[in-house]
Subunit: 190 residues, 2 copies
Amino acid sequence: METTAKEMKTVNGVNVTQLFETIDLINNTPQISRFKFRATNRWQHGTHNRATVKDFYGALQEDDSREPMRFEIDEPPVLLGENLGANPVEYLLVGLSGCLTTAMIAHAAARGIELRAVESRLEGDLDIQGFLGLSEEIPVEYQQIRVHFKIDADLSEDEKGELVRMAQKYSPVFNTVSKPVSVLVDLDEE
Amino acid sequence: METTAKEMKTVNGVNVTQLFETIDLINNTPQISRFKFRATNRWQHGTHNRATVKDFYGALQEDDSREPMRFEIDEPPVLLGENLGANPVEYLLVGLSGCLTTAMIAHAAARGIELRAVESRLEGDLDIQGFLGLSEEIPVEYQQIRVHFKIDADLSEDEKGELVRMAQKYSPVFNTVSKPVSVLVDLDEE
């Protein structure tokens, strides 16, 4: 990686030179593509709890260099909270929105497709009878999530539609939500 | 709902009186349990985008009373970002941590089980060959997520294990991740 800043090619703010170098590195050493992402959470009071994101593992090493990022989680009063933060199902939408956007931007960049603006709005249907345990028939999970994208670029509607398809194909959060993923929950040994 | 503050019963900071009143209301008028949660997202630059959470629909009305909550989303440098925020798959873990915690706290409160402290740590395995489109065999989504709880309460290990099971049973984010959920993504009509 002896390219200098001058030789770096950037599309949509994505360093495409580094992107293709990363792909070469992975092709030579596939283990560097295995990441472990993490969060911790501490209950505060009632429906208020606080999550922290800091370290992760990836590219064969631990990365503990980031400052801790803290997220307040709460419910609105109608759901017994005090509005001290977004609620958990809203954080899921935040992650989904970011992941679809990043997948779209990165794959457009890799193909040399320049975008001026990308916006999205998301809405998910949730019946809280599931959460409250009032009905075995009503799903506890989101029944459906809808995502609407607005893309400003010199592209046809078909080409924009293709970007929307790429975003879904390559987004880890989209695929985590739309497919069944194993989540193991237990008591910490101590 | 003419109960006064004095008559309210609170367990774990959860207003159990309001919780059971809500359940009564839903039993009489099930439509009030249908919620729509939302987020918007605007791409900034490269892997940096910003999500906003504000309004939602629930209990038969729109709620636009919250101040907008903004979330910076970015990647670490090894994933072509500038560490301007947690990344999308980390936000998913934030939501999952909060949802399992709130489900545990609320269902413990409804049963009169007092808890002193609840902490959790989460880790998810992601192989970015999926995101990069380098392999059709490697899943794009999290391959597995592990959640470890630490509960401080006057309870046996079996009783704590039962709280962990309730958290999973009643958590919307846990069930959204572990089951397949329909996510419709399209271009906004305009």
